[in-house]
């Protein structure tokens, strides 16, 4: 049964249905519907806990503590608040703890504004926190997908013992769309081999990210990167639209990919063979399909609500096989189909 819901609330509901009944967060616009929803729902669920943390720094560390016990936990914020979580995310990745972090991206740098942007791509995909680590990064384009990717994100986090970040533009969280929640959810992973539950009948477990000796640290980093390599092999997700015969291929994610689909349809009506590749996982990045399509395309256009961040990964994936152009808007402006078409026409 479909229900009409805001994107932010769909995330909260999907998390609860997926067995994630621990939420720690701090208010920031434009994601306040998530903590508000969780503060309403979780106290009514056995074992559920909601805490309004004192800071985003504390919130992500509460997630760290909760994740240690093997239970599912998540937090959400928006760009400036997510910056405060970077230390904690590095520790979560370093200690191989699963969790979900939602970033409803807003304008920046600095305090910026509360309008939607995609300028946190680098932070999410390239690191943001210190040290050698990766986050699995998911980018929904609809309220339905916000719910679906919340479930997937919690599952991938458990599967790989790694933090997962779901990034969406602030306006996607505010949009209301019909959403259908899954009937069944993945079975919880067995975490008894590492979780902290009190050392009853077993040796104590230890969760840490400190390795004093250079060789120990390097060995551990290699272990993490072997895991990341496996994720790159198996967890790439994307959607293609009319790319089979496309001369012009747009790469866009999130709300911009919805605009870009209209662009493809319009250009096709005008006789231009356009197509769209929509990354759903921003990391691991769908570089293989981009490389494959680049062999037959005239050019690529990366379209983002930033000054150009994902475009660097598109260029690395295309690797010189064809030109890669960029069109971006900032400050909270969503590119219109007409703008993108005009940009493409300058390259035709």
């Amino acid at each position: 049964m479909k229900v009409l819901m805001k994107g932010n609330e769909a995330i909260g509901e999907a998390a609860i249905r997926a067995g994630c009944t621990l939420y720690f967060g701090y208010p920031i616009t434009p994601q306040n519907e998530i903590p508000e929803y969780m503060s309403r729902r979780l106290p009514t669920i056995p074992g559920g806990a909601y805490i309004q943390a004192e800071t985003e720094v504390a919130a992500i560390n509460m997630v760290y503590g909760a994740a240690c016990t093997g239970r599912r936990a998540f937090t959400s914020s928006s760009s400036p608040g997510v910056s405060l979580m970077m230390e904690g995310l590095s520790y979560l990745a370093g200690a191989e703890l699963p969790c979900l972090v939602v970033n409803m991206m807003r304008g920046g740098p600095g305090l910026g504004n509360i309008n939607p942007e995609q300028a946190d791509y680098f932070q999410a995909v390239k690191g943001g926190g210190h040290g050698s680590y990766r986050l699995i990064v998911l980018a929904p384009w609809s309220v339905q997908e916000m719910a679906d990717l919340t479930v997937l994100g919690l599952d991938l986090a458990d599967k790989y013992r790694n933090p997962v970040m779901l990034v969406a533009e602030g306006n996607l969280g505010q949009m209301m769309e019909p959403v259908e929640f899954q009937d069944s959810y993945p079975q919880p992973y067995d975490k008894s081999g590492w979780s902290l539950t009190g050392a009853k009948g077993r040796k104590g477990h230890l969760i840490t990210s400190i390795y004093l000796e250079a060789d120990d640290m390097e060995r551990y980093i290699h272990k993490l990167y072997a895991k990341y390599a496996e994720i790159e092999q198996t967890e790439v997700r994307f959607e293609e639209f009319q790319t089979d015969d496309a001369d012009v291929i747009i790469v866009a994610y999130g709300i911009v990919s919805r605009v870009s689909r209209i662009v493809v349809e319009t250009l096709r009506e005008q006789g231009v063979k356009a197509g769209l590749i929509r990354p759903i996982t921003l990391w691991p990045f769908p570089k293989d399909v981009i490389r494959r399509r680049a062999a037959h395309a005239r050019f690529f256009l990366t379209c983002e609500m930033s000054m150009g961040q994902m475009v660097e990964d598109v260029m690395l994936s295309v690797n010189g096989l064809c030109p890669v152009h960029f069109y971006g808007r900032s400050g909270g402006n969503v590119p219109s189909p007409a703008e993108i078409i005009a940009e493409i026409r300058t390259h035709l």
């Binding site: 800071t55 720094v57 909760a66 240690c68 936990a73 009190g198 104590g204 840490t208 400190i210």
Partner: protein, 250 residues
């Protein structure tokens, strides 16, 4: 022959990495003894901080987690809310708790989180090499207050127990010291009482222990007790600052 004294079973036989004369080993033992006496070992999760006791987990035969600098009370909050039957001990030093983690400790106390904080106050950063701490005394020299802490630009030492005692939620707050047998006994009693209250679900418990750091104070271990008594204790009075049910005004 009857064995009348031994190592607590919650503590393993690994030699401590702490300097000669350091108080950490003494307090580790008191924590372990209390865990044993209250039969809490198989429910306990110990949080190691950042600082000299970053490797506290080397010694405790319990579940262990290492937390980011100052964040242990937030980690403890997550642990305890996820697993209310566990016994959570956040073991922290003065730089970790009173500087980097001041927000976390104040808010964990204000929420009345049902876990125990053992706060080692030796008025100096040990692990990083003897820098000024938030609890460093006026006039005390350190590697970052080489002319002595000047309140004109470095302010005054922070009295954490007194601060937290202004809150209504904490169940128990006491400051003790490691300077003599009487105070050692009081320290042990305070740690045990804190864990016992936690086990009974009574709320947030906090034991501040004035401890020796001869290495970074620049004194011999044998002189460090006198240093603690003549310098640290006058600034940080011992006593119970709060022993009341959450919400009660004392």
């Amino acid at each position: 022959m009857q064995k009348v004294f031994g190592r607590p079973t919650s503590l393993n036989d690994r030699p401590f990495h702490y300097c000669p004369g350091c108080g950490h080993g003494i307090v580790h033992r008191m924590v372990a003894e209390s865990i044993d006496e209250l039969l809490l070992a198989d429910r306990t999760i110990l949080i190691s901080p950042v600082g000299c006791s970053v490797f506290a987990y080397w010694y405790f035969e319990t579940d262990n987690v290492q937390a980011a600098h100052g964040r242990a009370p937030a980690v403890g909050t997550g642990l305890k809310r996820a697993l209310p039957d566990s016994i959570v001990i956040s073991y922290q030093g003065d730089g970790d708790l009173a500087s980097s983690g001041m927000a976390e400790i104040v808010h964990a106390a204000a929420r009345g989180e049902n876990f125990t904080v053992v706060f080692i106050n030796n008025a100096i950063y040990g692990m990083t090499g003897g820098q000024m701490a938030p609890t460093t005394l006026i006039g005390q020299t350190s590697s970052t207050s080489p002319y002595g802490r000047d309140p004109g630009f470095a302010g005054y030492p922070i009295h954490v127990s007194e601060m937290l005692a202004t809150l209504k939620a904490p169940r128990y707050i006491e400051r003790t010291a490691l300077n003599n047998v009487v105070n050692l006994t009081r320290t042990k009693r305070a740690v045990r009482k804190a864990l016992d209250l936690q086990a009974k679900g009574e709320g947030f418990t906090f034991v501040e222990v004035l401890s020796m750091c001869p290495t970074q104070w620049g004194v011999e271990p044998t002189e460090s007790i006198e240093w603690l008594e003549t310098r640290l204790m006058p600034e940080f009075p011992l006593g119970v600052f709060r022993d009341a049910r959450p919400g009660e005004v004392t």
